[in-house]
Structure formats: structure tokens, C-alpha cells
């Protein structure tokens, strides 16, 4: 295991030049599990405790399994979802848990956007807002958002999924006007639609991506200043291995076997650090839990397995010097909003 880490260390050093700002990641899993909300200043303290940092320069390398490529799309993942493309709307099928997750993620997105923009219109509370649904799949999340009045653009690299989504929404005239789909990748879109969206939603997507930095960079490009980024994904802990992989895939078959790769999971602290380096301010992180008996999701304090994250694109481009100053202000204890 350690030889793997050293190899990635070496590889990572070479790749450092692709990063905008220095990125550090705590290597020890014990520190990971500490789950304290890290800002730059806190991380400095942690790094001093870290064994590997002794004697090294400030630039530590990233530990990740993703090949550092310029594209977010992982061909293996595309193949996996291609095979399941027709099953998106079978409410009792493979994607049942995603459908019931709407009970959490739609109110999460809706309420955070309402906080920022206020109710636009009775009956269509989010009218006039543009949302990008990255990795929309069959449109499971795009449709409810469309019904709330937003203009949704759903993108997915798997063409069959996009076609399923288009067919499903074609019957409803309300949705036909407001929800559009496109089979493309985020990078392709980022070139065309700079600063075009009020919000970007990437739900259950980052654990399937090839390159998170490219993803964060593209999100930053397509969002308007002050725009929101919503991510739901799975934490990288022992608990998430037991429940998210072993129990969910192999024992209870909540998701098809092989859907998730534990190595690609990311902890909220790492994700937060990543996003902050790209000019986001993480406003809330909340834990989610799935009850296999009832098939329902619920919020919880503990982010050990699933969690949802809301980040806001900072209004100004952060300068390297300014990053430190801003993070001083952000370093408030107990920052995650307490949702009930």
C-alpha cells in the first residue's frame, strides 16, 4: 500500500503545474477521520503534525487514484451507465434510491436558492433561474427542478441516458419548455456557456469522475459570480466502505454491483479544500442517511457515508495573497448550517 502511495507521490509532483494554487491533502487516514472543518490555516497546523511532512517543502502531493487528465469523463464509468440507460424511470428498479433521494436534494437546492434569490413567483418559486444538472442521467433530478420553475439544462456523456430523459419529459408540456438535455461533457459546455448559470448541481456524480480539478474549474467557469454549486456524494471512510459498497451493492442490492469504487470517494474536507482552491466558499455540509427498510433518506449530523454540500462561487477572483486573508474570515467554528 505504501509503495503505491510513493509512486503516486512522484507522479503527482510532476503534475503539480496543472494546479492553480498549491494544494495540500492530509495523507494520514487518521487525520482524515478527524473530520474537522479545515481551512488553510488549520491545515498548516495539521501538516506540522503529519509524519510525511517532516523535512519536505510546503508542496505536498495529492493522493488520488484518478489519472490527472484534462477531462472529467471516465470511459469505464460511461460504459457502466450505458448498460443501465433504459432503467432510469423504473421506480422500483436499480435507481429507486435516487428517486427517493429527491425528497432530500430537491428541498436542499430549492431552499438554498430561495435564501439567495427569494421566491420569484407563486407556484413556481424558482422561476427565472438557470440551473445546470451535471451528470443528469435520466433526468431524475432535472424534472422536479424544472417543475419548480427553473430553466434546467441537463448534461450527461451517456447518450442513451439523455435520450431516455428527453423522451420522459416530452409528454409534459411544462417540462418540455423548461428542461433541456444535451449529451456532452462539462468541459465542452464550459467553453460555450461562461458564467451562464445561477446554480450547478452535481448529484452523485463526483464519485464517478476522472478528474475533480477539471470539474471544479469548469464549474467555476459556468457559474455566475455568487452562483451556487450543489454536490451530493459519498464520503471516503471505513463506514462508507461497509455501508456504501459492501452492504449497498453486495448484500442489499440497493445499487447494482460495481456502481461505486471506494477509491474514488472523497471526504467533505478534501472536497471543501478543493473547491476553495478554485474560488468557492463552502456554505453548508450535511450528512444524509438511507434507510433500506423504508427506502427513504433522511438528514443526519454525521457525514460519514453520504453528504450534501452547498458552495458559492466567490464574487471576485481570489489572488494568492488574498486567499489567506479570506480564509481567516471563513475560519469560524461550527460553520455548517444546522438544518432541522
Amino acid at each position: 500500500m505504501y509503495s503505491k502511495k510513493l509512486a503516486r507521490l512522484a507522479f503527482g509532483v510532476l503534475a503539480e503545474s496543472t494546479f492553480k494554487c498549491p494544494l495540500t491533502r492530509s495523507v494520514s487516514s487518521r487525520v482524515n477521520a478527524a473530520r474537522s472543518l479545515c481551512s488553510w490555516t488549520l491545515c498548516l497546523h495539521h501538516r506540522q503534525k503529519n509524519q510525511l511532512s517532516e523535512g519536505f517543502s510546503r508542496r505536498l502531493t495529492r493522493l488520488n487514484v484518478r489519472t490527472v487528465s484534462q477531462t472529467t469523463v471516465d470511459p469505464a464509468e460511461v460504459r457502466k451507465f450505458q448498460a443501465m440507460a433504459s432503467k432510469w424511470w423504473d421506480l422500483q428498479g436499480d435507481f429507486a434510491a435516487l428517486h427517493s433521494m429527491n425528497d432530500l436534494r430537491v428541498p436542499f437546492i430549492r431552499d438554498n436558492l430561495l435564501n439567495m434569490h427569494g421566491i420569484q413567483q407563486l407556484g413556481k418559486p424558482l422561476a427565472g433561474l438557470r440551473i445546470l444538472d451535471v451528470g443528469c442521467g435520466g433526468g431524475v433530478l432535472s424534472e422536479p427542478l424544472g417543475r419548480l420553475g427553473t430553466d434546467v439544462l441537463g448534461i450527461d456523456p451517456v447518450e442513451d441516458s439523455v435520450r431516455t430523459a428527453e423522451l420522459h419529459s416530452s409528454y409534459d408540456p411544462d417540462l418540455r419548455e423548461r428542461v433541456r438535455y444535451q449529451a456532452c461533457t462539462l468541459e465542452e459546455l464550459a467553453e460555450e456557456e461562461a458564467e451562464g448559470f445561477h446554480a450547478v448541481v452535481a448529484s452523485e456524480v463526483v464519485e464517478h469522475l476522472a478528474d475533480l480539478d477539471a470539474f471544479a474549474s469548469c464549474c467555476q467557469q459556468v457559474l455566475k459570480p455568487g452562483g451556487s454549486l450543489f454536490i451530493t456524494t459519498i464520503n471516503k471512510t471505513n463506514l462508507s466502505y461497509v455501508f456504501g459498497i459492501v452492504a449497498a451493492e453486495q448484500l442489499l442490492r440497493i445499487v447494482p454491483s460495481g456502481t461505486h469504487d471506494w477509491e474514488k470517494f472523497i471526504s467533505p474536507e478534501d472536497l471543501e479544500r478543493l473547491l476553495e482552491s478554485f474560488g468557492f466558499y463552502v456554505e453548508a455540509i450535511r450528512g444524509m442517511m438511507y434507510n433500506p427498510l423504508t427506502g427513504a433518506w433522511s438528514w443526519q449530523q454525521n457525514t460519514a457515508i453520504n453528504y450534501a454540500l452547498h458552495a458559492i462561487k466567490c464574487k471576485e477572483e481570489p489572488q494568492p495573497g488574498q486567499v489567506w486573508a479570506e480564509s481567516e474570515n471563513l475560519d469560524k467554528p461550527g460553520r455548517a448550517t444546522n438544518y432541522s
Binding site: N102, Q121, P144, Y171
Partner: protein
């Protein structure tokens, strides 16, 4: 003016036969009939978010309630009614015979809809006290609030309620449409799962040949509901061997005092009553109120002994007995009769369908609860649909919120219906043991104010 409602529990008629019919259609949830020759894109004018079938009290209240909900603003709602529009500029001089007892809970709903003001301006009568007595003994029970100041409930003519709700609906005409004199001939159900080339909505075919589509169909079409029948929802129902004769009475205590009568009796006797001329009918009513012919020695003695015992134990119990009034005459042309039965749909929902009001549950009028159960359905279903719309859900598809409606309402309705049915059976006989049982029961309940308060609270919801 002092009118109070009477629930006539002693039935002059014997023999009851209950016929339990279990209608199992054998259909799976969601009978499909895909029309492959239909265009795949329905014209947008004809696709509604909600269609309510049946414009009675409950159906019209549902339309108003959905129309006024802020989260459902912008949804297209349609109410289909086979009869003509009921408008009432002025209240007619004569009282109509069909009335309902409106509980405080229902009155709250109606005032939230803005219809209660219209009702109060037209005609309604609050009552503070209810007295129920047994024909076979001297037992009686009275329900009243502590100080006789608060109203227990209201008696309102059904026509007045519908007219008030119709008036409110007119203010919502931009997104709630109503079609009167419209009869539905066929319902076509969608498949619960997504199949390409088939329309995922409920299709409603009208008598005039037009076809409408909707995302959610609400059936409020009465006890013989076509929606329920076509959806194949199994119903537990039986006919009571009784009909109700309704009339408007002129009481002789004060002049100009009118009262409403609902007389549940056997079919044969009901027909006889309708045939009688006015005078004989009035005599029949008076003798029913005052006669002692069904009292037996045994029951009288036992009853008075029990009453003495109770008054020793609880000296303050029971308020003064009000003597039944004498009837002087009846309103012109006002006698009608209708058959009574009990019915309960085992499911209130299907994929893209919900049933409310008498279509879902039908009760004996003895407790005055039928309309109130229907209004309770309206309030809860509106709440559930409002929440679903705020969460961006498809109103008819997600069974989760419809199931919540069904569970909650069945939990409330079933105990009420069971109690009413039990009461009806208990009071349908002259057999001495049963009479004794109910005499003691009535007197004991009358002596326990906390129990009476519980009963009133449950019925007021």
C-alpha cells in the same frame, strides 16, 4: 329562534337485513388501455394538472381549495359536474330538505376558502345542544358545550353550501375551470410504468365526444362513484334496510320556527309516509316523538333504577331534559326519500387517481358526519398535494404522497364509520336485552361529561 337538531335513534320498523357485497374486480393496480392510434403529443389545452369529477359539496370544495393554494398557483384545474350551475342570488323563502350538520372543523375549512361568509349571509343555523332519546325507554343523552354559548355545529342547507362554494370558484376562474352539464362516459387509465408511444396521463372521455387528459384525477362523484368502479377499487358496502324521509317542519312552540327532519325507517314505512297527506304525516311524526307504545315494564323499571343509581353517584350529571317539540305542519312539497347504506372503499388511491367524499366512504346520516368526513378529505388532500408541488413532484405519479393521504384519512374515517354503524345496529331493534343494554349505555355515557367531551371533540374535527 331556537332550533336544535335531533338524531332519531329509535326506528319504527323492525327487521334489518345486511347485505355485504365485496366487489373484487380482480384488476391489478393500474388497468391500462393504451391507445396506439392516439397522437403522442396531446394538445396543450386539453392536458390538465388535476381534474375533479363531481361538483357536489365535496367536489366543489376541493376545486376551491386547490385553486386557492399558493403552491398550486399556475396549475390547471378542471371541475366536471353533470348537473347545472347552482347559483343563489337570494336565498329562497322555502327551506330545502337536504341539510348537513357542519362541524367546527369543516366550518374552519369553509371559512378558509372564503365560502363561509357567503353561507352566513345566506342562511345557516348554529346549534348549541343536541339531545338524543330512545323510543323504547326513557334513556336520553344530551351533548352541549359547557356554557351553551359556544356553538357545537351548524345546520346548513346543502344547496347553500354548494352555491357559496360556486361563488368562490368564480373568483378563481383564471386557473380553475368548471364545466357544467358534462357527463363522463369513460376513463382510461395509464400504465404505472413508462412505456414509449403510450400516453402517461389519465384520459377522460366526455359524453360530447371530447377527450381530456390529466395528471391526477380526483373522484368526488358520490356513493355510486364511477371513478371508483372503473378503477376497480374493491368496496365494502351494504344496504341498510332503511330509507330516510326528509322534510321541513313547522314547530308549534313559537311561530315561524322551522326545523329539519330526517326520519330513518324501513323502506315500506318510508313509502307509506310519503303517501300520507300533510295532516296524517304530522300526526305520524308527533306520535313517533311522544308515544310510549314501545316501552316495556321491564325496561322502564330497570331504566329508572339505573338512573337513580347514577344520580346518587354523580349528582351533577346530565342537564335538564328537553321535551320533544310538537309539530304543527310541514313545509310545502318538501317530503323526499332516499335509500341508506354504508360503503367504504378499501383504497382511496390508485396511480394518478384519488377518491374523496361519499365516493370513498358513505355513512348513515344519524350522526351527521358524512359531509364532515368529506371536508376532512378535502383539507388533507390539498395539504398533501401542496407539499408535493413545492417539492417539484408530479402530482399523480408519486404514490408516496397519495399514500400518506390514504393512510391518514382511513385512520380517521374508519373508527367514525364503525361507530356510526354500531349505533345504527344497536338502535334498530326492540328486543329487550338490546334495549336494556343501550339504555344503560346511554345513561352511563350521559353521566360522564369527560366521555361526552371526547366524543364531541372527535366529531368536531
Amino acid at each position: 329562534m331556537f332550533t336544535f337538531a335531533k338524531a332519531r335513534l329509535a326506528v319504527l320498523g323492525t327487521g334489518r337485513r345486511c347485505v355485504a357485497l365485496r366487489a373484487f374486480s380482480g384488476a391489478l393496480r393500474g388497468v391500462a388501455s393504451s391507445e396506439s392510434n392516439e397522437e403522442s403529443s396531446t394538445s396543450e389545452n386539453q392536458l390538465f394538472d388535476v381534474i375533479i369529477s363531481g361538483g357536489g359539496m365535496v367536489g366543489t370544495a376541493m376545486a376551491c381549495s386547490l385553486g386557492l393554494d399558493p403552491n398550486l398557483a399556475g396549475k390547471k384545474i378542471l371541475l366536471l359536474e353533470a348537473g347545472h350551475k347552482k347559483e343563489m342570488d337570494r336565498v329562497p323563502e322555502t327551506y330545502s330538505t337536504r341539510v348537513s350538520s357542519i362541524s367546527p372543523g369543516s366550518a374552519t375549512l369553509l371559512s378558509g376558502l372564503g365560502a363561509w361568509d357567503h353561507i352566513a349571509n345566506m342562511r345557516c343555523k348554529p346549534y348549541n345542544k343536541m339531545q338524543v332519546w330512545d323510543a323504547c325507554s326513557d334513556a336520553l343523552i344530551t351533548f352541549d358545550k359547557e356554557n351553551l354559548q359556544d356553538e357545537m355545529a351548524y345546520i346548513v342547507e346543502n344547496d347553500v353550501i354548494v352555491a357559496a362554494l360556486t361563488k368562490q370558484l368564480q373568483t378563481l376562474s383564471d386557473h380553475v375551470k368548471v364545466q357544467y352539464r358534462t357527463k363522463v362516459v369513460k376513463y382510461t387509465w395509464p400504465r404505472p410504468y413508462h412505456v414509449s408511444e403510450s400516453i402517461p396521463w389519465v384520459q377522460v372521455t366526455l359524453a360530447n365526444g371530447k377527450t381530456l387528459h390529466t395528471k391526477l384525477l380526483i373522484g368526488a362523484d358520490g356513493p355510486n362513484s364511477m371513478v371508483r368502479r372503473e378503477a376497480g377499487i374493491p368496496t365494502v358496502k351494504w344496504n341498510y334496510d332503511q330509507s330516510a324521509v326528509v322534510a321541513v317542519l313547522h314547530l308549534s312552540e313559537l311561530s315561524d320556527t322551522e326545523s329539519s327532519l330526517v326520519w330513518s325507517t324501513s323502506h315500506q314505512h318510508a313509502e307509506e309516509l310519503l303517501q300520507l297527506d300533510e295532516e296524517s304525516f304530522v300526526d305520524a311524526i308527533n306520535s313517533a316523538f311522544w308515544s310510549n307504545e314501545n316501552h316495556s315494564e321491564l325496561v322502564e323499571t330497570a331504566g329508572s333504577l339505573f338512573r337513580t343509581a347514577l344520580s346518587v353517584l354523580m349528582p351533577d350529571s346530565g342537564s335538564a331534559r328537553q321535551l320533544p317539540p310538537s309539530v304543527a305542519g310541514i313545509g310545502p312539497k318538501s317530503r323526499v326519500m332516499f335509500p341508506l347504506g354504508m360503503g367504504h372503499a378499501t383504497e382511496y388511491i390508485r396511480h394518478r387517481v384519488a377518491i374523496i367524499g361519499d365516493a370513498a366512504h358513505r355513512v348513515h346520516p344519524l350522526a351527521g358526519q358524512g359531509a364532515n368526513l368529506g371536508f376532512g378529505d378535502v383539507a388533507y388532500l390539498t395539504k398533501v398535494l401542496s407539499q408535493a408541488a413545492f417539492n417539484g413532484k408530479d402530482l399523480g405519479k408519486s404514490m408516496q404522497h397519495l399514500l400518506e393521504f390514504e393512510t391518514e384519512r382511513q385512520r380517521h374515517n374508519l373508527p367514525m364509520m364503525a361507530a356510526v354503524d354500531l349505533m345504527k345496529r344497536l338502535y334498530s331493534t326492540n328486543a329487550a336485552p338490546v334495549v336494556l343494554l343501550r339504555t344503560f349505555g346511554l345513561q352511563a355515557t350521559n353521566a360522564l361529561p369527560p366521555l361526552k367531551e371526547q366524543i364531541m371533540a372527535y366529531a368536531s374535527k
